[in-house]
Symmetry: C2
Subunit: 198 residues, 2 copies
């Protein structure tokens, strides 16, 4: 379509969202034209300040506002358990279910040689340091049930082979081949309670 | 979910888009966290300047950049035909099909008493003035095939009852009950050529 340039650039930006093609981006853009100047400004402000207002905790890698990390407060969290997840997003899922009071460690991705994601670019060294420092007794692997998740879990098992830490993995309830992102709270609780020795 | 506040407000903004619920908004927001600061800034700029860079032509109501309206340039467009549409969005559909060289008139909505949209709030008076001034021979009604579209088309027919202008309506090819927004170019061309006397 030969849209005016400002509309065209907006549509191009919207097409970068996951699962959004041209038609959907066009619908979004025309809806945005109906928003008030104030609503657009507010949205623009959220976007502009997103990165400056959010940061990753240097210890656990969780997404936090610019203040001390609530997930690393060892007065309130159990240092003997660390749940290892691939993305800060997964932490919110665990927190929402209120079943876990241990610590988290975000690896920032799963190993995937095909997509050129190797262990070196992930936060495994930091994890090893934490396990020793916190005298952690259990690592709970909370990865997706995918080839990449399996590979990364195996890598972790090897990494801690000479270590007395117990390694478990979310087991019951994760539909095989799917991603953590789509799991409902009930399934998550089932899979958390049914975690098996790895 | 107990997201950090900046993430939460972004998700709330995204949920205002059509067809976007909480889960989709969350996916969009986390994808945006992966965008560079530059990409976010660029998107924010598009949003901030959207309304200031786009305007409605005071004559036809089409969406234009802040310069003269290309659709009202009577050296290049045929003043004897006016295609009446409910939204500026529909104009792009007609233009994309390259089948029409007449003028446009955007009513800014369809009559719907249930949603408190009455003829008074639409651009019908301006249309009547244009028809007289431009000595228009044909009004082509390009409304959705919905109850609101039918009602508005009937209203237009009444409005020009004492006038020699011919009124036609897009006929062949619009799937009954659906909206213009979803019509492909081929269907539009069919429905344009097969328009019937109204």
């Amino acid at each position: 379509m030969h849209y005016p340039r400002p509309l065209h650039t907006l549509i191009d930006s919207l097409k970068k969202l996951p699962g959004v093609g041209t038609k959907t981006a066009e619908r979004f853009a025309f809806q945005m034209l109906d928003w008030t100047e104030g609503e657009l400004k507010e949205f623009a402000d959220h976007l502009s300040h997103l990165k400056s207002q959010l940061t990753s905790c240097s210890t656990c890698g969780c997404l936090i506002e610019k203040e001390s990390c609530q997930y690393c407060n060892l007065d309130r969290r159990d240092p003997s358990q660390i749940c290892v997840v691939s993305s800060p997003r997964d932490v919110f899922l665990f927190e929402e279910s209120h079943l876990y009071k241990g610590c988290y460690h975000v690896t920032n991705g799963l190993i995937s040689p095909l997509e050129e994601r190797y262990p070196q670019s992930m936060r495994f060294d930091a994890l090893k340091e934490r396990v020793i420092k916190q005298e952690t007794k259990e690592l709970i692997i909370g990865f997706d049930s995918t080839i990449e998740g399996d590979a990364t879990a195996l890598y972790l098992k090897e990494l801690f082979a000479d270590h007395p830490v117990k390694i478990s993995r979310l087991a019951f309830g994760i539909p095989v081949g799917s991603s953590l992102e789509y799991i409902d709270e009930g399934t998550l609780i089932q899979s958390f309670s049914g975690r098996t020795h790895f």
